[in-house]
């Protein structure tokens, strides 16, 4: 591949492709929700099996970098739970998670969430010790060590884990699930954690799991507007933007393989240093 072509041709082609996709994207039938609807269905089944006015514990520990990916799904899930009459208790065990939890609870209060439906359990340090303390509070087996309100978790019907930070669904399955028998745990995590949390969903240790933008979009499509439409966030990432990013990545990777002479190199023995 000539240097001039590599220097100017490829970038121009990529830009042209991007412009084309963005311009005609909505008319191409781009849709991210249809790719994998089963996980959304599983979560909705779990929510439908909840008793009336359920008590829901929200373990809110996303991280700043990946929360934009989860935000529309998390807000729609919270709005749906409030529509079902749920009492939500927010707790965080990481500093970033706590900062985002405070912002989300302030938003719920500002946009008209029912009074008394959201309880702030604050930030509990200690990582796994905090989770053990929570599990003890949920099962009523020992006095809880932590902020006020923790001793009212006895009778929690569902735990919703918003992951992405250092303490995620894996830690909840390891520490809370064995100690709080019968508690169902569902999780919303960024795509990067898909390979490590999917086995927990497959084994049933997580009752439901949403990890990709497509799964989140499918959940948002299937969730009715309910009594608090302002609390939900229906608009997710643009399918055209996702398609454009994937196409850029595909072109870039393909050009790299061509520049590297893959066929020749695959046949040549290489030793890992």
């Amino acid at each position: 591949m000539s240097e001039r072509l590599a220097r100017f041709g490829l970038p121009l082609a990529v830009v042209g492709l991007l412009a084309l996709v963005v311009a005609v994207g909505p008319n191409l039938g781009l849709r991210i929700a249809g790719s994998d609807p089963a996980p959304a269905g599983r979560l909705i089944e779990v929510l439908d099996r909840l008793p009336a006015d359920p008590a829901v514990l929200v373990g809110f520990d996303p991280d700043l970098g990946t929360y934009p990916e989860l935000r529309p799904t998390v807000r729609t899930l919270v709005a749906d739970l409030l529509d079902r009459g749920a009492g939500l208790s927010f707790v965080s065990m990481t500093p970033e998670g706590r900062a985002l939890a405070v912002a989300e609870m302030a938003r719920l209060d500002r946009l008209g969430a029912p009074r008394g439906s959201v309880t702030d359990l604050g930030f509990i340090p200690g990582a796994e010790a905090a989770l053990v303390s929570l599990a003890g509070a949920i099962s009523g087996q020992r006095p809880a060590a932590g902020p006020p309100g923790l001793d009212e978790l006895d009778g929690t019907d569902l735990a919703v884990v918003v992951g992405g930070n250092d303490l995620g669904p894996r830690s909840w399955v390891e520490q809370v699930a064995p100690r709080a028998a019968g508690l169902q745990i569902v999780a919303v995590t960024p795509t990067v954690l898909l390979p490590e949390v999917e086995p927990y969903r497959a084994s049933g240790q997580l009752a439901a799991l949403l990890t990709t933008p497509g799964q989140g979009a499918a959940f948002r499509e299937r969730t009715p507007a309910g009594s608090f439409p302002a609390l939900a966030e229906r608009a997710g990432p643009s399918p055209a933007a996702i398609a454009a990013g994937l196409l850029v990545a595909a072109v870039w990777l393909a050009s790299a393989l061509l520049a590297g002479g893959p066929a020749r190199r695959l046949l040549r023995p290489t030793a890992r240093r």
Binding site: L64, M93, P95, E96, D166, P178, L193, L194, R272
Partner: protein
């Protein structure tokens, strides 16, 4: 027999009976939290390891997948270039709000820091250690001092330093991406999650610093492989120290892990065959963890 208060002393038989009664009552109100299957697996790990500790391993075949045995060459290059070497201990730390798995990775990387620090001390290369919590900083500083003690180069200790980059994963990635200094050798060993690619690219820099990257985080295995240079992925970080020094504890740990992995593979193969034949459902044995 009567003691001073006039009450009869309990006989040995009474004491034994009371003790048995206490133990019986305690067992009566106790139960297995995880179910018998999972409890046996957890105890099995302890038993396999402790049994090997009692009889240390003598035969060993070195593999060194990360290329850390050649760190002396990297230090020689750093000494010629007149720069320092950078060692990032990852972003889990020891006292942060992170899971135990991440903290164990920091502990495993601390041993590798010792190896690199000794090579650097011998070559007269200062080491800059990046951490994001003060407890890890203390442990890293102690490791550096110990390395200089062992190599009789205490006069060089003050040239190395430990940098606390700040809370969270973002500061660590931001620091290495924006730092102007270009070390001749860089090591990123420990827990790295979403920021792994940013951190590895930042440490490599435009000048192509020789980088050894390793993290047991399964979602970041590709990041370590794409970083170029030596890579430790999956469980390799935990076993790397066994290839670098003839320490009985490290090699015993590696052999214990290998035996347990073989047992796990055999159990998966047999369980899969039985499940396909419809004879048993293996997840029932692990029902203590909610498998269904």
């Amino acid at each position: 027999m009567r003691h001073e208060m006039g009450l009869p002393m309990p006989s040995p038989a009474d004491l034994v009976g009371g003790l048995l009664s206490f133990v019986g009552d305690a067992l009566g109100v106790s139960s297995f939290r995880l179910g018998i299957g999972t409890t046996l697996v957890a105890l099995g790990v302890l038993l396999v390891f402790l049994q090997l500790v009692a009889r240390p391993v003598t035969r060993w075949v070195t593999s060194d997948p990360g290329g850390l045995a050649g760190v002396g060459r990297a230090m020689a290059l750093a000494a010629e270039a007149g720069t320092d070497a950078v060692f990032s201990l990852g972003t889990a730390g020891l006292a942060r709000s992170t899971d135990a798995f991440g903290r164990l990775q920091t502990l495993a990387a601390m041993g590798l820091l010792g190896h690199v620090a000794r090579a650097a001390a011998r070559s007269g290369v200062p080491v800059r250690v990046l951490v994001n919590d003060p407890l890890a900083a203390i442990a890293a500083a102690t490791t550096i001092e110990s390395a200089h003690d062992r190599t009789a180069t205490r006069e060089r200790t003050s040239r190395s330093r430990v940098v606390v980059v700040g809370e969270g994963r973002g500061p660590s990635a931001g620091l290495v991406m924006t730092a102007r200094a270009r070390p001749a050798a860089a090591f990123a060993l420990g827990n790295s999650r979403e920021e792994a690619t940013l951190g590895f690219e930042g440490l490599r820099g435009e000048s192509g610093t020789a980088l050894t990257a390793g993290t047991p985080e399964p979602s970041q295995a590709a990041a370590a492989l794409l970083a170029g240079g030596g890579a430790l992925i999956g469980p390799e970080l935990f076993g790397a120290a066994a290839d670098l020094q003839s320490d009985a504890t490290e090699r015993t740990s590696a052999v214990a892990a290998n035996r347990l992995i073989v047992l796990a593979v055999v159990a998966i193969a047999i369980g899969s065959a039985l499940a396909l034949a419809g004879i048993i459902h293996p997840d029932g044995l692990l029902a203590g963890l909610g498998g269904r």
